[in-house]
Symmetry: C2
């Protein structure tokens, strides 16, 4: 997959087929923002719903929350973000341009693009200064520091500040987790690599609270089960790896962190971090809020501040990985012309595919459109389905291949006689005849 | 429902049972922000999913998008928000307090709370000035006006700026709509009435594009079908009304607006506005972006700028209306003590209920917990279900009534003999015996 052409082709496919558009595009865009189109929004919904179903609905020990993007400023003082969530920046005194200190060797001097900043005699650089990556805004009608707040740079803190609320309002006992899906914002200096590093993105985070003595076990369990989740959704082992951080990479409070990384066209990139955060976050919030966030175990009569395992996934990053993994170009024989041709196909896992099945009448006569509409109306009560009657059937297959639709159902001349339709499999391109009334069951079994 | 006590009780129930918590609560809160707890997030998800299913999945003529919260500033110049999305504010020169001009008669002078601002001799008020309700922030490392952007105050503009992208990437033809669900932000001077007027909230919006000659029909159709949607989800006709705006209330470009209003405990409040916006928005974006946003009809060979009908609903406001509508207190006879008692019940529509069914062993012995766990494990692959074995069964019913759970399934002594369980209906409190293997079908039919 380490082929930068693939990224270019994928960006183009995403625009052309309505997965992803540049944000505010008709106004020249807004760097680092992206809009999800008709297919993209369904893919993103399917990823988030699969995550929620597997991690919240199916489990007794996890509950969800949905907390505000705007939070009291003290939250980010307690979490350490106000002090430490920074990138080092360097200014050019001459041209006023600004660069990330660690990216100077890859940057160009605006006055003399053949040189790096500082290499050109007229351009004098300042020392590196810290630049906070949180967006700030003001709440209420007066712009004064008391009302200054940040757009959250992660959803995790919304979970920690509600730890006690969740304990008090449910009967849940440790070990348990709180899950959240939602948008976060980071004022990246250099957004890049399509939606991978953007200024507005979506996260899927769990904070799993446990007794300190079981925290190592839970860490290992979460690391493995989250890795397996991507595998189950079709990411091949060669393109997915688990990278355990060295001691030197760990924050002082952390007892271990593993990244789940995907081999993107430009190289390995993080999809999810699973971190053993000890009791650091709750202790910080105890200190800054003055509230008791400890846990009392009814059975052992022990009171303690729980340790936390944090599986923190990027929803929009996962989407990009699923797309990269699904993208393929193949030589085929065209169904209409019987000639050799190329097809682009997205081999998305059926759970994630934006459209589950397309329904075609072979031709627009002999009652085929009516029969196709009837089947389509029946299927869409349960599935995301698409109806198409325009053009040669081979071209219609090609269009669905590009959209990642796992099944194409065609009503043909035989349908009127024996009530069967053909179902074409996206990946094998094989067709089988199935009785019309068996189609919902056929799909249900395979989706 | 116009009973302000009910609101107080509902706020308390929401906190106690984990529907809604004040935002950043352990830090003294952040006015106008709210966090959704374990039950609240499921209710909100169910509302948004019901809307998406009914308006996008079930329809051929609507597709979805999910666009960025941060947009290019020119979007809000084109839409008119930068100039006109304002409240009139008045300052007190003496104490520097700030008031909404139209709310002076309900406000208190901070120096002399028995008086309104301006009534107290020492307090001198300024003239009213316009205050823009959009939150602003800066994108990129330099705080200069070129990089200033707003948090979107509505999701609608994200749809308009993608009109051409959607046309170019799909085969959809007019008449068609684009739908979006997402967060919006308004820097309200006085957030109030629980989640009704908050600074961060969620919307469900459709822009439906049609030929000018059919726009009046589409306006009427959308007005009626959106009204019916709330009715179908259990809002009684007496508490729901459709209010057509007078000519005087309409924006100059609007050909008609209807509000769907709910009778909240404090009076009537807007849940959704259905507006006939003519071609105003697209024309503004044509003017400001210089892009051609017209539509070409292949069949009639006509090129025109479509008219737009906008059904714009509040997801979080709807949630509050559904909760108010569902809330009831009733005299009952307790199942355990056989004495008269009170119960609080949320009669939420089964599609919206956060938990669809609870599974109880009658007592913690004789294999009942094992059988209950087995049924629970089976059901949760398809439904949001809850297991509870603590306390008397009557108290467990009461807890589920408060959470709005439509069905409670109890495994009792008879289950071991004849493989049946009791299913209790939340509203009638009647129980019927159902064969264990018929339970999934029983629920499926009623949900």
């Amino acid at each position: 997959m380490a082929d930068s052409n693939v990224l270019e082709k994928l960006v183009s496919l995403c625009k052309r087929r309505g997965f992803i558009f540049p944000g505010s595009e008709i106004y020249g865009g807004l760097t680092g923002t992206w809009d999800y189109g008709p297919l993209g929004v369904e893919l993103l919904r399917n990823i988030k719903n699969a995550w929620w179903h597997d991690n919240v609905t199916l489990r007794d020990d996890i509950v969800g929350v949905d907390t505000a993007i705007l939070m009291n400023r003290t939250v980010w003082q307690a979490s350490g973000h106000e002090d430490a969530f920074t990138d080092p920046l360097i200014d050019c005194k001459t041209c006023k341009a600004r660069f990330r200190a660690d990216q100077i060797p890859e940057s160009q001097c605006p006055r003399k693009p053949s040189k790096h900043p500082g290499e050109f005699a007229e351009c004098q650089l300042t020392e590196a200064r810290k630049f906070n990556l949180m967006f700030k805004t003001f709440v209420g009608p007066v712009e004064e520091s008391a009302a200054m707040v940040y757009l959250r740079p992660e959803t995790a803190q919304g979970i920690f500040v509600n730890f006690k609320n969740v304990l008090d309002s449910t009967r849940i006992k440790i070990p348990f987790g709180i899950a959240q899906v939602g948008k976060s914002f980071r004022n990246e200096i250099t957004p890049k690599q399509f939606i991978f590093r953007s200024r507005e993105f979506e996260q899927m985070e769990i904070e799993f609270f446990c007794h300190p003595s079981t925290s190592e076990q839970w860490y290992a369990r979460w690391r493995d089960s989250r890795f397996q989740w991507y595998r189950n959704l079709g990411v091949k082992s060669d393109n997915l790896r688990l990278r355990e951080h060295d001691k030197a990479e760990l924050a002082f409070y952390s007892k271990g962190t593993s990244d789940i990384e995907y081999l993107f066209p430009w190289g390995w990139g993080e999809l999810e971090g699973i971190a053993h955060r000890s009791d650091y976050d709750l202790q910080q919030h105890i200190k800054f809020s003055g509230k008791d966030l400890s846990y009392f175990d009814d059975e052992t009569k022990e009171r303690y501040v729980p340790h936390v395992i944090e599986p923190s996934a990027g929803a929009t990053r996962s989407l990009l990985a699923f797309l990269c993994e699904a993208y393929a170009e193949e030589k085929i024989v065209d169904e209409d012309t019987k000639k050799e041709d190329m097809r682009t196909v997205l081999r998305l896992h059926p759970r994630l595919a934006p459209v589950k099945a397309a329904v075609f009448p072979l031709v627009k006569k002999d009652g085929m459109p009516e029969r196709a509409h009837a089947l389509h109306d029946d299927l869409r009560r349960r599935f995301q389905v698409f109806y198409d009657e325009k053009g040669a059937v081979g071209r219609r297959y090609r269009r669905q291949d590009e959209a990642g639709t796992p099944f194409c159902i065609t009503i043909d001349g035989q349908t009127a006689q024996d009530q069967t339709v053909t179902i074409r499999d996206r990946d094998s391109m094989k067709q089988e005849r199935v009785a019309t009334d068996k189609v919902p069951g056929y799909l249900l079994e395979r989706l």
